[in-house]
């Protein structure tokens, strides 16, 4: 494609070509060398399993079991690569499409669907996974991530030299979010406070129907230049490169070197959500171009060529994917409506007389029907 500006992949860090050939990079090759075949196989498996989950969730939505689904198809390498560069003590602030990162952080994917079935707004305990709740308002969480990182710094978790202690935050968001005021404010607050936070922008080319050219005249990574923040563009469909650039940026943040910005150049292969219809705004040719750059196929080709992906491992992975999909289906279909009293739970942390009065009124109102029906 002969393009410039944000649509061009000029200058992206790439360690695997789209045909799965390994290429070198003067800065980042050394990080990829940390990944042995066994780890790479595992990363391939995670991508395959999460994609199967993703497809199952779309089916569940089509069958009326979910109100909405937000597919991450095509972004698996950016997420699995960056997710592998995190340490247990690091914190993740996701937007709402980071299903693969959630999986890596141990979030139960069936539970995650409770959000999309309309059972609750936040379906996991962030402290158990160092993975904050999804945030649906675009870019709002970039500030929370920055404040959280500022607090980690205050808590003495940065630059101690202890690899088991030093920590940083990674914040995921998309190309559309870079236009939000909050995101720009987050870059400024992070920069002037030298906060240990890495901004991980998944440029998947589309903000629902709006192309990247409606958000920017320049590649998104350059937004960070304005605040003096180190930044890099990476081929987001290359799991090795995604790992390498995140490793480097997180290492720097943990050691006290301050924030960083990563633009992962990738593609949203599916719809924005199950309510979207991409045929109204993008071409078949574009989708075909990106289908040839599928992140899973790329790693698969590389591993297969090295003889590192045996038939047994493939079969086992396929079975795991099927099993997860089945589990998710059963868990979703059997998840029933929460009690209505939950409307009033946790509005405040301490008692609030208005909420208490409304709860009491509602209970009496519901009981009035029980009495009328003969006390059952």
């Amino acid at each position: 494609m002969d393009v410039h500006g944000p649509l061009s992949d000029d200058g992206v860090v790439r360690l695997l070509t789209h045909t799965g050939d390994r290429v070198e990079h003067p800065v980042y090759s050394r990080y990829a060398e940390e990944l042995d075949d066994s780890t790479l196989r595992q990363m391939w498996r995670e991508m395959v399993v999460v994609r199967a989950f993703d497809r199952e969730a779309t089916s569940l939505q089509r069958q009326g079991e979910l109100g909405l689904w937000v597919p991450a198809l095509g972004q698996e390498a950016a997420q699995v690569g960056s997710g592998h560069a995190l340490r247990p003590q690091d914190w993740v602030f996701p937007s709402y499409r980071e299903h693969a990162v959630a999986h890596l952080r141990g979030v139960n994917l069936a539970a995650l669907l409770r959000i999309f079935r309309g059972l609750e707004h936040g379906a996991w305990v962030p402290e158990e996974h160092n993975f904050h709740l999804y945030t649906l308002v675009i870019g709002s969480h970039t500030l929370h991530a920055t404040g959280y990182a500022m607090a980690m710094d205050r808590d003495g978790l940065v630059g101690t030299g202890d690899p088991g202690r030093d920590a940083a935050v990674v914040c995921y968001f998309g190309d559309g979010a870079t236009s939000q005021g909050d995101t720009n404010e987050a870059l400024i607050f992070a920069a002037v406070n030298n906060a240990p936070v890495v901004f991980f922008c998944q440029n998947n080319q589309w903000a629902i129907s709006e192309p990247a050219t409606r958000q920017s005249k320049v590649p998104f990574a350059q937004r960070a230049d304005g605040v003096g923040m180190p930044n890099v563009r990476v081929d987001g469909n290359d799991v090795l490169a995604s790992y390498a650039v995140t490793r480097e940026a997180m290492d720097r943040a943990r050691s006290g070197g301050g924030p960083g910005f990563i633009e992962a150049f990738t593609y949203r292969m599916g719809a924005h959500t199950t309510s979207d219809d991409p045929t109204r705004y993008r071409s078949k040719a574009e989708e075909e171009y990106w289908a040839e750059r599928d992140p899973i196929a790329r790693l698969e080709a590389y591993l297969t060529r090295r003889g590192a992906l045996g038939d047994d491992f493939r079969a086992e992975t396929e079975a795991m994917a099927k099993e997860l999909a089945a589990e998710v289906r059963v868990a979703t279909k059997s998840a029933s409506k929460p009690p209505t009293s939950e409307i009033f739970d946790h509005v405040f942390a301490e008692p609030h007389t208005i909420v208490d009065a409304e709860r009491a009124w509602f209970e009496r109102y519901e009981e009035s029907f029980t009495d009328a029906e003969g006390g059952h």
Binding site: E120, H121, G122, V125, P126, E127, H132, L133, T135, V137, S140, T142, L143, H144, A145, T146, G147, Y148, A149, M150, A151, M152, R154, D155, G181, D182, E185, A186, I188, F189, V192, D345, H346, V347, F348, A349, E350, P351, H352, T353, I354, V355, A357
Partner: protein, 330 residues
């Protein structure tokens, strides 16, 4: 007892809270070396250092958004929004994020952020420096909204707001910043139940014939009106609400059941203001005790006017007396 201005009392309360809890940090524009444009944080930067009294970039959403992130790690940020009219860039973070975090996490995340807002008019300021946006926040579940009217309350309520595990909008009546009053700096304070403690209405003056419900800057106006009408043989009770969310409905209805009449006074525009909620509650809970319709005295449904006009816009003693006359007819 010490004699302090309201600004000085809030300053003393902030100092006390910072001494009590090292997790308390102040964030805002010009709150450091300058001590804030109203000097409410005067001396704190010098005594606690720039890590605990942080001058922030000029970005209100950024202040509140990063405060949310810090509070998730156990900090208790106290944000200063320089003027009422500058809070709107942060409105989304306050109403969409801060107010809902505890709810959406099913109680797993608490965000004890306090947002201090010098508010209301009467100081001859330029545009966007005299507004009363409290109803916008009281309408949002998950936020506590309070406003002190006296130095004693300023001193205690800021500490209670900081101790509350809930987000608190702390509206400071800027025209009252320089009013002096006696402050018991050793007044009993407990962290437990701080939210409830700052939400009890105060009977600022006892009366028999009409209840004047006020808060923040309007408490003084209501007290002055009560003084005047006493000379005319009308005994007015003045209730200082302290909290807009939650409203102390019990205190309001108790008083109205006694007097049979209710006039609500606030600077915010009357339509859809706190007075509308109060009038509706009184009608629901004290209907058969009412001798007259509940009346409201406040700002008009216009943007805040140029300062030479503000004294005609604001609820004056005369306008409060006019409403008292109208309810006393019944």
């Amino acid at each position: 007892m010490e004699t302090l201005t309201l600004a000085g009392a809030i300053n003393a309360g902030l100092r006390k809270a910072m001494e009590r809890d090292p997790k308390v940090i102040l964030m805002g524009e010009d709150i450091g070396a300058l001590g804030g444009v109203f000097r409410v944080t005067d001396g704190l930067h010098k005594d606690f250092g720039p890590d605990r009294v942080m001058d922030t970039p000029l970005a209100e959403s950024g202040i509140v958004g990063t405060a949310i992130g810090m509070s998730m790690r156990g900090y208790r940020p106290v944000c200063e929004i320089q003027f009422d009219g500058f809070i709107f860039p942060a409105f989304d973070q306050i109403t969409t994020q801060l107010a809902k975090m505890h709810y959406r996490s099913r109680g797993k995340i608490t965000v004890p952020v306090v947002i201090r807002v010098p508010y209301a008019g009467g100081i001859g300021a330029v545009e966007h420096h005299s507004e009363s946006p409290e109803a916008l926040f009281a309408h949002t579940a998950g936020l506590r909204v309070v406003t002190p009217a006296t130095p004693q309350d300023g001193y205690l309520m800021i500490q209670q707001a900081i101790a509350s595990p809930d987000p608190v909008l702390f509206f400071e009546p800027k025209a009252r910043y320089w009013d002096k009053g006696e402050v018991d700096v050793d007044a009993p304070f407990t962290v437990d139940g701080a939210s409830a403690a700052m939400s009890h209405a105060r009977v600022a003056r006892q009366g028999e014939d009409v209840t004047l419900v006020a808060y923040g800057p309007s408490v003084r106006v209501a007290l002055q009106a009560a003084q005047v009408c006493e000379n005319e043989g009308v005994s007015a009770e003045v209730l200082d609400l302290r909290a807009i969310s939650p409203l102390d409905i019990g205190a309001i209805t108790r008083s109205v059941k006694k007097t049979g009449r209710c006039v609500v006074v606030h600077e915010a525009p009357v339509p859809f203001g706190a007075g509308a909620e109060i009038a509706a509650r009184v009608a629901e809970e004290a209907f058969y005790h009412l001798e007259a319709p509940v009346l409201r005295v406040g700002g008009f449904h216009s943007p805040y006017p140029a300062s030479k006009l503000e004294h005609d816009y604001l609820p004056s003693v005369d306008r409060v007396l006019d409403s008292i006359d109208r309810v006393m007819v019944h």
